[in-house]
Structure formats: structure tokens, C-alpha cells
Symmetry: C3
Subunit: 359 residues, 3 copies
């Protein structure tokens, strides 16, 4: 049975908790485990995860772009958020509906050379070709010396590694990328998830004022997944919210030494994620997120995190802020504005989530 046919597997801008509520006990049970209760296994293979099979479609999009999608005709930029638990396996049947060589290459998970997604290992789809890639994951396991080899949990990403060059430079530039989340059993699930990709001088191949307006209600638990691509170096800044510079963005306790930050380097091939409570301690409003490199923010790498009131209503001043943003001049006359990257993208590009199905 194709996992994609299960309820909850395709979800668009729905609350994560709603997904769980309508999901099966098989998923709900591990989620209820806290980290303390969920002792890591003492070998990489002790806990057998679920094998999830999905089909992904690579397609051309208007504006000379490309995208990944979970159904034909539904490709988006960024592609769908893929999400598993440590121990799970993702079997991805990739249908290449473009007229170019392309592939899918993941960060953070395990794969054999056949699933590397690189031309180096002859692991790619020719035009029109369908190919299956297998990504495995694991829990941490104890090595000699009382230290643990890390498990797969993390805010990772996937991207093309074959279009245009042996490094997928053309595919990445034109939109073939997305978020991959591997959770530990017991990790807190968010209400909303946003993928923010700093790709060259764009955010998700858009420049302001067409960059995403991410929305949440006051107090919702929001997960940000930030990914860097291209040739430029950036710093991601979010107004009025902060996170711990570690695996989850939260602290393990009073002796967790992690620095707390609100601005982080976001450079090619890198990714990180964190959860915040929307507007917590600061209230609702139109909050900026942007690259903090001055010329980058001014030439379009800026967007809005709209925190609505708890009841979903528009807070005072927010619409005026959005109107200002949409009329934003992006820099002064003295600032050279680079040619924007192509930005047309399907209307639901931000909303195509993929939650882990029940096992």
C-alpha cells in the first residue's frame, strides 16, 4: 500500500496537532514519550523503524524554474517537507518529468552509493526516467570511550545534485530543494512549519515583496527550517524571537551551555531549525525576518512573520505594516539592485507539508 494514500500524509497548512488527533495510535504513542523515558538504544539496529514509500515528481514550473512535488502537477518551491523519526526509512520513487538530467540528494541520513544522487556515483535520473532512492536513519549508539555516535535527528534538507553540472548547480538555482526533518522519539511536534531557503539573493527563489508571509496565531508552536544554497553567504535574523543554537532550538535545562541567538549564519549546503512560540512575550504583529547582510535585505531578502491574535484575527497595525512592505522600495537610489531571480511559484508553495504518517 502506498503510504501517500493514508490520512495525514498530504496536509496543507493544517495544524500538526490536528493531524495527530486524527492520526493513529501508532504515531501518537512515540510522540507522547519524553526524551527521558525514551532511552536511546544501545545499537544502531535495535529499534526497527517504519519504511515509508513515497513518489516524488520533478517538474518544470513557470519562470524557467523547477520543483519537486508529491503529485503530478503539484511541484512547489521549496519542495514538500519530508519528515521521519530516527530509525525510519524513506523509499523515494523519483519521477523525472523534466527534460534534463536530475536527482535527489539528502543531507543527514544514510544511503548507499546507489542513492547518493551524484553523477560521481552514476546516481541520477535521465530525462523522463524514474529511479528509486532509499534513505535510512538511525538512533544514536554507544561507541567506545563512553561517547555516542550521533543519530540522524536534525533539520536537514534535500536537493538536486545532477542538473546542469555534477553538483546540481542549475537544479538548485532553479528551485530543486526542500526540507527534511528527522526527529528523535519524544521530540515536540510543532503546530506550524516554515521552510526558508536563502538561495543566492532570494528567499525560496522569491524577492521582496513577493517573499513568503508566514502566518501563525499567538502562542502557536512554530518550527522554522532554514536552508542555505548557492554561492552567497547570508545571516538569518528573526525579529522578536530567539532560539538556542543547538539541535532543537530549546534548552535541555539550566546547565545546557548553548548560546541563545536570533541571528545565524546560513550558508550554502547548511541548514538548521528551531521552534518558537509565536509572539510569546512580545505580542502579535508583523515581524520581520531577513538576511542581516545590509545589501541583501535591501535588495529583497526580507519577509514577514505575521503573528495573528490568538483567535486568528489581524492585530492592530499589521495590515499597515504589510502594505508598507508591499510598497517597499528595497534600498535607496544609491544601492544597485541586482536582477531578481525568477520568482513565479505556485500559490500553495508554502503550504505543502508532509507529516510522518502512522506506522
Amino acid at each position: 500500500m502506498d503510504e501517500r494514500s493514508r490520512p495525514g500524509w498530504f496536509t496543507t497548512l493544517v495544524s500538526r496537532r490536528a493531524v495527530l488527533a486524527t492520526g493513529t495510535a501508532a504515531l501518537a504513542t512515540p510522540v507522547a514519550l519524553t526524551l527521558g523515558a525514551a532511552a536511546p538504544s544501545d545499537s544502531a539496529s535495535a529499534r526497527t523503524g517504519t519504511v515509508r514509500k513515497i513518489t516524488m515528481y520533478a517538474e518544470a514550473l513557470p519562470g524557467n524554474l523547477y520543483g519537486y512535488g508529491l503529485e503530478p502537477g503539484k511541484a512547489t518551491i521549496p519542495g514538500p517537507i519530508l519528515e521521519i523519526y530516527e530509525g525510519d526509512t524513506l523509499e523515494i520513487t523519483l519521477v523525472n518529468n523534466t527534460d534534463r538530467r536530475m536527482s535527489i540528494h539528502p543531507h543527514g541520513v544514510d544511503y548507499s552509493v546507489d542513492s547518493d544522487g551524484s553523477p560521481l556515483n552514476a546516481s541520477f535520473n535521465n530525462p523522463g526516467e524514474t529511479r528509486t532512492y532509499i534513505w535510512r536513519s538511525r538512533e544514536m549508539f554507544l561507541a567506545s570511550g563512553r561517547r555516542w555516535m550521533p543519530g540522524s535527528a536534525g533539520y536537514w534538507h534535500y536537493h538536486d545534485h545532477a542538473m546542469g553540472t555534477d553538483h546540481g548547480t542549475l537544479g538548485i538555482a532553479r528551485g530543486l530543494y526542500g526540507a527534511l526533518v528527522v526527529r528523535r522519539r519524544g521530540d515536540i511536534l510543532p503546530d506550524e512549519q516554515f521552510t526558508v531557503v536563502f538561495n543566492e539573493m532570494s528567499i525560496n527563489n522569491q524577492v521582496a515583496p513577493n517573499t513568503p508571509i508566514f502566518e501563525a496565531n499567538l502562542g502557536q508552536r512554530v518550527e522554522w527550517i532554514a536552508i542555505g544554497h548557492g554561492n552567497q553567504f547570508h545571516t538569518f535574523h528573526l525579529h522578536a524571537h530567539r532560539w538556542a543554537d543547538n539541535r532543537t532550538g530549546m534548552l535541555e535545562g539550566p546547565t545546557d551551555p548553548s548560546q541563545v541567538i536570533d541571528n545565524k549564519d546560513l550558508n550554502p549546503g547548511g541548514s538548521f531549525g528551531f521552534q518558537v512560540l509565536a509572539g510569546e512575550g512580545v505580542g502579535p504583529g508583523a515581524w520581520m525576518y531577513h538576511c542581516h547582510v545590509q545589501t541583501h535585505s535591501e535588495t529583497g531578502m526580507s519577509g514577514i512573520f505575521l503573528v495573528r491574535a490568538a483567535d486568528g484575527s489581524m492585530p492592530p497595525g499589521a495590515q499597515e505594516a504589510i502594505d508598507r512592505f508591499r510598497g517597499h522600495a528595497h534600498g535607496t537610489a544609491a544601492t544597485a539592485t541586482p536582477e531578481p531571480v525568477p520568482t513565479q511559484v505556485p500559490a500553495d508553495a508554502q503550504g505543502q507539508h508532509q507529516h510522518p504518517p502512522s506506522g
Copy 2:
């Protein structure tokens, strides 16, 4: 009563411990708490901090620069170090004595959209205008899943977000920035504090040999606060001293996993801080601090950390080193030297500290 009139509130190059010694018990008491004794509260509002009210003045400086100051005519680059404990609130009445639109925008603390400091939220001072910005802070608090939402403690910074562009690009370029330190109860207080801002191709809008010579006596506890601004990417390196890459620069204990470093990326909008014991294990002398990007250090992003003998006397060789530094040619003929940023700055620019007053 204006907090600024209290003893210790304005201090210039005085020992921090001296401030404490002459301060009131109200400050000394929380300082004496160790982290172990100061258990975080179980809600964000459990500990009510102090409300500190200050007035800041934005002013033009010679050399086409601008600065923030705590008194009229006393603006500096960088601005004063603002320092609070988690739970405290800073109420800043900002007097704009410039002829341009400008604001103050903090990193790391809590503020409503009114205090955002961004034109997006119509939060700025027109020329000649006075406006109050409120920054709140909090302790960590327990969220679901046995994890803690981070508190405000950190080595943060503040800067203009409105001059020249909607991102404050002109104000930042010309000196409108400074350090903001939020401490946890029980954090160790330093004897000396240095603010180092890598702003474009300058350090604190200065290039060598006019970059700051930071001074301490052997064994003094010195706090470095490093901030990045502008469009360039940098790496901060300090000779003969190292720190843990975490919140404090020190280790929590033998199982603290933090990497120990002496070179760290310092990029636009980012900041970090750490404490070292001056010359500890290496002795006094003229120690270099510099950007480790080769052309950056050669074209002026280099300075001296002068560790004097414990009695304050000049150690052997240090004056010769300083003389060499002042005659420094900065690169070879083969190195293109960029036009330096304007560098004139008041003589006491490095010394304007602002310690937390007694509550």
C-alpha cells in the same frame, strides 16, 4: 528618579569589581548567587525584574559619523554597553539629535511592535523627535516535552534600523550600534569589558593603527563582546587566549561538549561574547586581535590587546610592539587597499561602560 543618576551607572574604564564594591547590596546579592543556587523559575513571569529607565542621545560626530550616548554631547562609537539581568526591563527614551530619521533596534530581548525600531512597524524617531522604546527580558521557562524555552541571557547588541534605508544601513555604517548584555542570575561579572564591532572593513569604524588598544592587567577577568555589521564576512581571532563556543565562553564541567576556539565567524547581525583571564598561562604582552581573513587584517582590521603586568606596569617588549603596530604598513604593494571608512571618534569611545545599577 532617573536611574542614570545613581552611582555606578556611568562608569568609564573603571574596574567592574570596584563598581560592585562601591555599589549597593541590592546588586551585590544576586551577583553572589551561583547558577546552581539560582534555579530558573517555572514560568516566564515568576521573577519580576527591575525596570531601568535611561535616556539615550543620537548625535552627529566628526567625520560624517553618528553615535549613541547616555548624555548629550557624549555619543561614542560603539555606543555604551547596556547591561541587565534576565527579568529586567529597559525603558529607553531615545532623543534624536540628528537631522535624519533613525531608531534603536535590539537583538535578543522582548519588545512589542511599537518598540521594534523598524520603519515596517512605523517605529522610529523623525529628526529631532524623542521616542521611548521598551525592551523586556525573561528567564528560561519549562515548555512541554521536558525542554526549556530559552531566556534572554546573551551577548546581544542594538543598532539603528531606520537611517538611510528601512534596514538602517546608513546608520549602522556610520556608527549607530552598541553592545547589549543580558546576564543570568549568578553569572560571573568581569573586571573589564571590550566591545569589538567588525563593521564593513573596520573595527568600531576605525582601521589600524587607529583601532582600539584594549588594556587589562595580568589575571583580570576580561569580557569581550564581538558584533558583526555591514556587508562583509569576517572571522575574529584573538592571540594566546581561547574560549568555549557557548553562551559564556566557559565550560559547565567535564561533560560540557562545547568546542573550544580562538577564531570565530563574525558576520552581519551576529554577536557573541566570552570571558578570559588576561594573559593567563601566557603572560603579559601586546597580543594581537584581528580578522583572520588575510586581506582584511592587512588592510586595517587588526588591533592590540595589551596585557600589562599584574601591577599595571608595561611588560618588556610591549611598547616596542605597539610602536611597530603604529608604524604598520598594512599590506604589501601588491594588496589593493580599499578606501577606509571614516574613523574619527571621540577619545573615550572605548571607555563608556554602562553597568546595571542597583535595583
Copy 3:
């Protein structure tokens, strides 16, 4: 007695465990200590380490390059891996066999101004001159406030600080750099060690397809030491392997908050290291390592981590991958290829290891 004459001090591409097996009990004993058993001392001087004396030679190499070596005529790029335990002292007699001023400057360890390696402190070798540099190290020690001042353990590096400019820009550009590893008692020792230096647009002053092919057998514990130099900013990515972003690359346990990564910023003056089990969970094969900045990987900052079968045999497909790599066109016609840096280097450049001798 010169430490260099002891067995195990010079080793070329031999297994680290083999070194230990043929080494002396004096080394084997501390290695067997786990971190839990090896409580840090409560003062910096409590444990007196070993003083290791070595002679290093700086020499010209073909292709207008320079290198450090442990014997005359044996200079390599990068230089030998220098490795000590916290508490040890390295006394390096540096023989400058070049016709230029040069020095050796370490990161992470303790040295007086005499051993700074900087012209600022008149600490360098004139052409033909021999000079001794002393590097000390220490364990962490408890400071006030229940926090620990960090010890010296880390993946550090050394480099010239005097050739061409006062910052050693010419010496670094031409190959005068190497890895310095300071271990804590109880740290796990690797089977293989690789030094990867992203220096301008090269890896170890080589561009693909001449970049190193690092080799290990399936399951071997491999230590990567990554160092950044020059003026460019980079991100280091390794396929199919991941590590914790902390001191060791491993986790202390389930509550270690470190992010797990497979892509990390690697910028001038910075360094990090980690250990992986070669091919663990993914199998043998030709795995790419590369800078993830697209134009950097395409113009030559890419190499191969060849994981052989456990018996050392070539895995299926690996030779084909290497052949593809060697025929690699490096980018498309549309990509401007910068002039490569000089790349000739002695054949054994990757194999010159220096393990800590017995005490």
C-alpha cells in the same frame, strides 16, 4: 633524547591502533582512561605533562610553494599533524631553510610573546635562521562561579605568520600550514587522520582532480581535521557521514544538545575536527567531500573519501567513480574558472602523521 627517534613518532599512513599496539605502555595507559574516570584537575598546573621536543624544517617546494616537515627534504602541504595531550608542552626548533622571513604560529595553545610567531612581537625566523618556539597546553580548571576555564583540547592548527606580510599571507597562500590536535586524557584515538585545508580556492593547495583521495576501510575510525585559510568563505560537506557540532563530533549522551551536521562553515583561521566510522550504515564506496558553495565545488574544491571494503578491497563501482572524477570537467562553459593556485606537492603529502610519542 630527541623524541623524534622513538618508535611511533614518525608514521606514514599506518593505522593508529597499530601505532598503539607497537607503542609503549606509557601511552596506552592514559588512552584507556575514560573521560569519566579522568577527572579534570582543579588547577591548571596539577597534572604535569610531557615535554616533547621536535625540529621542524620550512622549505621551498616545487611550484613556488613552501611546506613544513619533520626532516630536511620532507616538507609537505599540509605540514605534519602535531598531536599532544592536554598538559603537554611542544618545544619546536624551527629551521628556516627558505630565503624569506617566516615563522610558526599556533592556535589554541599557550605561548609567551616570544613564541607568538608574529612580527608584531619580533617572533619569527629570518632566512636561514633557526628559532625555538614553545607551545604549552593545559587541562580545564575551575574558576569562580562554578564554571570551568576551558583547557587546550581541540582540533587546532598552525601556520606561518610572517612571510610576505605581518600576517603571513604569502606563507599561508603557498602552503605553510598544518593541523595541531590537543587531546583530553581519555579521548578516543582514531585509526586514520585526514587534514583538509580550504585555502583560497584550493584544498591543500590542490584543485580537482588532484585533490586528495582519502582512504579507509569500512568501519575504521577516521578523524577529519578541517582548517580554513585565505580570503574566501567556504562550507565543508561530506557525503553519507555526519557528526555532532561540538568538540569531538560525538555526543556525550542523550541530553547532549549539540546539533548533528554534515556541512559546516570553514572560514579563514577557523578549524574543527570530528571522527566518523568509515562507511558505517552506508557501506563502502567513493564518497564525495567538497565545498558546498556551488562555484567552489565546480572549480575544483571537491575530492573523494574512498571507503574500501573491510578487507581493504575496492568496492564495486568505486574505481569507475574515481575514473569519472579524474575526467571531471569542473563546471560548465558558463562558469568562469579562476586561475588555479600552484598545486604540485610531494607524493606523500597526506601521509606524514605525527602521533604523540610515549611520555
